[in-house]
C-alpha cells in the first residue's frame, strides 16, 4: 500500500515546493519569537531553519540600517498608523495580491489566502475570483476552492469578468482570449494586443462589449459575441490602463502623460494633458470622477472630472516616495492608497468630517517580503 501511495504522481510537485519555500521563509523572517519555554531544546529541523533565516535577517538589517529606516519613516508615512489592519472603514471586501499569493480581506480585517496566484479579479457580485498564475487561469470561490481551471502556452495575465459574469477576458502572451464564466468555450479573440488589461463596458443588459488596446496603439471596441467592431481609435501614446465609468458612459485610456476620453461607443470626447507621470487610476463609483496617482519624486492622488475638461484636478492626498495603487470603496466614501515607501495603507475619506486611517506593516501582514502587495479591487457591499 505504501508503494502504491508513493507511486502516485503529484502534479506540479517540484514547482510547488519552490513556491512554498519563498512564502514560508518570508513568514519565518517576519516571525517574532516569544520567550523560549524552560528546558526547551530545539529540534534539528527548527534549529536549521531558524539559523539560516536569522542569519539572513542580520545581514539585511544592521544597526546602521535600522537608523536609516527610522529617519525615512519620520518623513514618510503617517505616525498615527495602526500597527495592523483590524477593520475596513466601510463595507465590501478587498482583493490583494502579494508574493504569497492572492488574499481576500473581509470588513473585519480578517484575511484568507486563496492561493499562490499572481493576479486576480472579482466576479461582478464578488461570488468568485478569476485568478492567474503562470500558464493557468482559474475561477475560485472566496474560500479558495478551484471551480475550474485551464492552461495556455503563453503567460496568462489580467483576467477580467464581464458585468453579467458570463464571460472572462484575459491575455495569453500577446493574444486576447475570451472564455465563458464556467470555463467552457475558451477561444482566441485577437492577436498582437498590448499588455494592458482589457475592460468590459458596464451594462445591465447581457451585452458583452470589450475595450482593449492593440500593440500598434489602437483602442478597439468590440461586441465580442458577434465579433462586431464598434470603434477603432488611434491613441496618441501607449496606454497603461483602460477604464470605464460605472455607468458605462465614459471610457478612458490612461497613458503616462495624458487621459484620453471616449463616450460609450468609442467616440473621442477630449483629452487631458498631465505634466507629471501618471501611474494608475480608478473611477469613483457612480460618477465620472477619476482618481489618478501622479508620481515623480513625491506622489499625489488627484481627482479629475472627465466631464469638465479644463477644470484643475482636486488633490486628495500627497506624500514622499511612491504610491503603487489605489481603490475606491464600493460606497465611494473612501479611497485606499497603497504606499510602499512607507509600508502603509491609507484610507482617505472623500467627504469631510473623518480622519485618514493609516495601517503600517502591510508587507508583513500579507507575507510579502520586499515586494509590496498589490491592490486588485475593493468590491461589493454584500
Amino acid at each position: 500500500m505504501r508503494r502504491e501511495l508513493e507511486r502516485i504522481e503529484v502534479p506540479g510537485e517540484e514547482a510547488a515546493e519552490g513556491r512554498a519555500w519563498e512564502v514560508v521563509s518570508r513568514a519565518f523572517a517576519e516571525h517574532r519569537p516569544g520567550p523560549a519555554p524552560r528546558r526547551s531544546r530545539l529540534r534539528p529541523v527548527v534549529v536549521a531553519l531558524a539559523a539560516a533565516l536569522v542569519a539572513l535577517a542580520l545581514v539585511a538589517v544592521s544597526l546602521a540600517g535600522s537608523r536609516i529606516v527610522h529617519s525615512v519613516r519620520e518623513a514618510v508615512g503617517l505616525k498615527t498608523a495602526a500597527p495592523a489592519l483590524t477593520r475596513l472603514p466601510t463595507g465590501g471586501r478587498l482583493l490583494v495580491t502579494s508574493a504569497a499569493g492572492t488574499w481576500i480581506v473581509q470588513p473585519d480585517g480578517s484575511k484568507r489566502l486563496l492561493g499562490s496566484y499572481r493576479q486576480a479579479a472579482w466576479s461582478p457580485h464578488g461570488l468568485f475570483v478569476a485568478v492567474a498564475r503562470g500558464h493557468e487561469l482559474a475561477a475560485v470561490d472566496p474560500h479558495g476552492t478551484v471551480r475550474w481551471s485551464l492552461a495556455r502556452s503563453g503567460g496568462i495575465r489580467v483576467p477580467r469578468w464581464a458585468p453579467d459574469g458570463y464571460r472572462i477576458a484575459y491575455l495569453d502572451g500577446s493574444s486576447l482570449r475570451i472564455v465563458a464564466g464556467d470555463g467552457t468555450g475558451d477561444r482566441s479573440f485577437a492577436a498582437n494586443v498590448a499588455r494592458v488589461a482589457p475592460a468590459w463596458r458596464p451594462s445591465t443588459a447581457h451585452e458583452h462589449v470589450l475595450a482593449f488596446a492593440s500593440a500598434s496603439r489602437e483602442l478597439e471596441l468590440y461586441a465580442v459575441d458577434g465579433s462586431t467592431l464598434l470603434a477603432r481609435r488611434h491613441l496618441p501614446a501607449a496606454p497603461v490602463q483602460l477604464l470605464w465609468s460605472s455607468d458605462g458612459k465614459r471610457l478612458v485610456a490612461l497613458s503616462a502623460h495624458a487621459i484620453s476620453m471616449f463616450d460609450r461607443d468609442g467616440r473621442p470626447s477630449g483629452s487631458i494633458h498631465i505634466g507629471r507621470r501618471a501611474a494608475t487610476a480608478a473611477f469613483e463609483p457612480h460618477s465620472h470622477r477619476l482618481a489618478v496617482i501622479l508620481g515623480g519624486g513625491r506622489s499625489d492622488v488627484v481627482v479629475f472630472d472627465v466631464d469638465r475638461n479644463g477644470r484643475p484636478p482636486r488633490e486628495i492626498f500627497g506624500g514622499t516616495g511612491s504610491f503603487s495603487g489605489l481603490a475606491w470603496s464600493p460606497d465611494a466614501r473612501w479611497v485606499l492608497i497603497a504606499w510602499p515607501t512607507a509600508n502603509q495603507w491609507l484610507f482617505v475619506p472623500t467627504a469631510g468630517g473623518r480622519r485618514i486611517a493609516a495601517v503600517s506593516g502591510i508587507s508583513a501582514q500579507f507575507v510579502s517580503g520586499p515586494i509590496f502587495p498589490a491592490l486588485d479591487d475593493w468590491c461589493c457591499t454584500s
Binding site: E13, P37, L113, S116, G144
Partner: protein
C-alpha cells in the same frame, strides 16, 4: 525534508493539485506562526502533519457544502481531474475521512494510536476507518 510527504499527503486527501499546494503551504506558514506554542520536547513532523491533514479534511467539507448550496451559478460544478492512475482512482472513491487515515497510516507511517491522537478520534474509529478503507482499496486495485 517535510515538504514532499506533506504535499503528497494533502494531494491524496483532496485530489486537487492547487488545493494541495495551498494546504501544504498554509500548514507550514501556520506552523511558523505557532512556533511559540510548539512543545519542543515533541517531534515536529506529527505536529505539522496534524495541521495539514485537518486542513485537507476541512477543505473537502467546505467544497461539499458549497456544491450543495449552489442554486444559481454561472460557474460549473467542481470537476475532479481525469484520473488514470488506478491507486488514485481507488482513493477517490473513499470518503475524505477514510482517505485521511489511509494516508496517515500507509504514507506517513503513523500507528492507529498516533492517528487517533493526531485527529482527536477514538482509536476504535480509526481502526474501523482503516479497515473499511483498505477493504475498498483492495477490491479496486489490481493485485
Amino acid at each position: 525534508m517535510h515538504w514532499p510527504k506533506l504535499h503528497r499527503a494533502a494531494y491524496l486527501v483532496v485530489h486537487d493539485a492547487a488545493a494541495a499546494e495551498d494546504i501544504a503551504q498554509e500548514s507550514f506558514v501556520a506552523a511558523v506562526r505557532r512556533l511559540d506554542t510548539f512543545d519542543r520536547e515533541r517531534p515536529f513532523g506529527p505536529w505539522l502533519h496534524r495541521i495539514a491533514v485537518n486542513r485537507a479534511i476541512d477543505s473537502l467539507r467546505v467544497r461539499r457544502l458549497r456544491a450543495e448550496a449552489e442554486l444559481e451559478d454561472a460557474v460549473a460544478p467542481l470537476r475532479l481531474p481525469d484520473v488514470s492512475d488506478d491507486a488514485l482512482a481507488a482513493l477517490a472513491d473513499l470518503a475524505p475521512e477514510h482517505r485521511a487515515v489511509i494516508v496517515l497510516r500507509h504514507l506517513l507511517g503513523y500507528t492507529p494510536g498516533e492517528i487517533a491522537e493526531l485527529l482527536d478520534l477514538p482509536r476504535g474509529t480509526v481502526n474501523s476507518r482503516l479497515r473499511r478503507g483498505l477493504d475498498t482499496l483492495r477490491e479496486r486495485l489490481p493485485s
